[in-house]
Subunit: 236 residues, 2 copies
Amino acid sequence: MLEAPATAPGSTHQGPIDIVRTQSLTTLVQRELERLILAGDVKPGERINEQHVAQRLRVSRGPVREALRGLERAGLVEARVNRGVYVREVSVEQALEIYEMRGLITGFACARLAAASTADQRGELAGLVTQMERAASAGDQALYYAINLAFHDKLMQFAGNMRAKAMYDALVKESHLCRRRSLFSPRNMGESNAEHAAILDAIRRGDAETARKVGEEHIVGGRRRFLDVVGSTAGT
Amino acid sequence: MLEAPATAPGSTHQGPIDIVRTQSLTTLVQRELERLILAGDVKPGERINEQHVAQRLRVSRGPVREALRGLERAGLVEARVNRGVYVREVSVEQALEIYEMRGLITGFACARLAAASTADQRGELAGLVTQMERAASAGDQALYYAINLAFHDKLMQFAGNMRAKAMYDALVKESHLCRRRSLFSPRNMGESNAEHAAILDAIRRGDAETARKVGEEHIVGGRRRFLDVVGSTAGT
DNA sequence: CTGATGTAAACTGTTAACAGTTTGCCTTCG
DNA sequence: CGAAGGCAAACTGTTAACAGTTTACATCAG
């Protein structure tokens, strides 16, 4: 990954970054690098070669360096002086801290929704829970994962604190940098979605304190499922 | 600010950024710009001129641009395409969101300390409360402000979640970008420190739930004092 | 006197070249 | 045969120059 110039000589394909420049190249490079990192195409601990990136995206090193500085502040990469930029590795301890913070913020959002939410919002969340139920029954992990993401996204969005949502999103991104990741086994999907239903129920009843509690515990549940994976998989 | 080359011709003074380069220029520029912004030397809404910064710090535009990209991701500046980088303006609404998040995280830290803290840690916090009491009695706002900062810093540090502390620090920095700021009037200092004492008391008793509540309410108190200032000061 | 238009200066976005450090490989000596 | 030292390639850090856009000012028409 991120090695050769990719396009063969004679190819008319101009590379991914030759769009009309309504945005700066730095922004486009940053987005592309973030995508590669979060998709796991470049793995934690791996080094990012400025020249290779520049050649691959048909850009000079300037915008690449700027993009990398942004990603550094976002916590996605680490820069070692005179030694290059590396994709950050998130340890298990750090991952647990991240789970705690995600739980805290999710609990906040749930409490907020219990105190103030529209029927439309509750309906949309209910619809997603139903969809997850179907995905879980079908055993479709990828689908469940996607809808689960949307559910939590809406939850944060409806809570009406943009700063909370931004922090939550940053935490989710960061958690992708931990090699050990928990997946949704069929049993986990059912368990996870039951918690979603409990959150929604508390929100509907306007019970802020319970909503906060089950929201927080839902993420703690994710943390437990994560620990199961870590525990059962020894080695690096 | 950030205008002329500063040093007069013939001056032997080499400018702030001619230290032995054990760190990258970008890092030093970033630190200096962050300092200028947080100290209020460059104000929210003001434009940052790359060339002027570069000249003033005796550096080329490259490192300056990289530093600005980092500050952008940190939320301290905003970049408008082909139009330059501006110090971010935090609206009153955004400031209130930030207060909410600071309260949430502070409450978390207090609960955590109530559940698990050493005698040394509690002693250190108690010492700071005592110092603040003296500062409040003397009516020394600057001193109270400084110790208050240290108290909250220790609180987050002792809570043992580095991610929480990092998020809290980022929020505090961001809140500096709101023009309307609450100061510590003599009455406010006493009120604020009484809340500190209540926090410490709950921590000592090991009452996590109360600690969380008073910790959160302490920041909400800050938010209320902030709203008083906003309300009593009309206009831009 | 006011508003539109055109021109020049200023500034941002980008690229390419230069300097110094790191790293890997090869040679050479024990 | 193994290890230490040196040389060369590769890569990062930095700078300077170029290109295109924005902005401010001056000029001119109404």
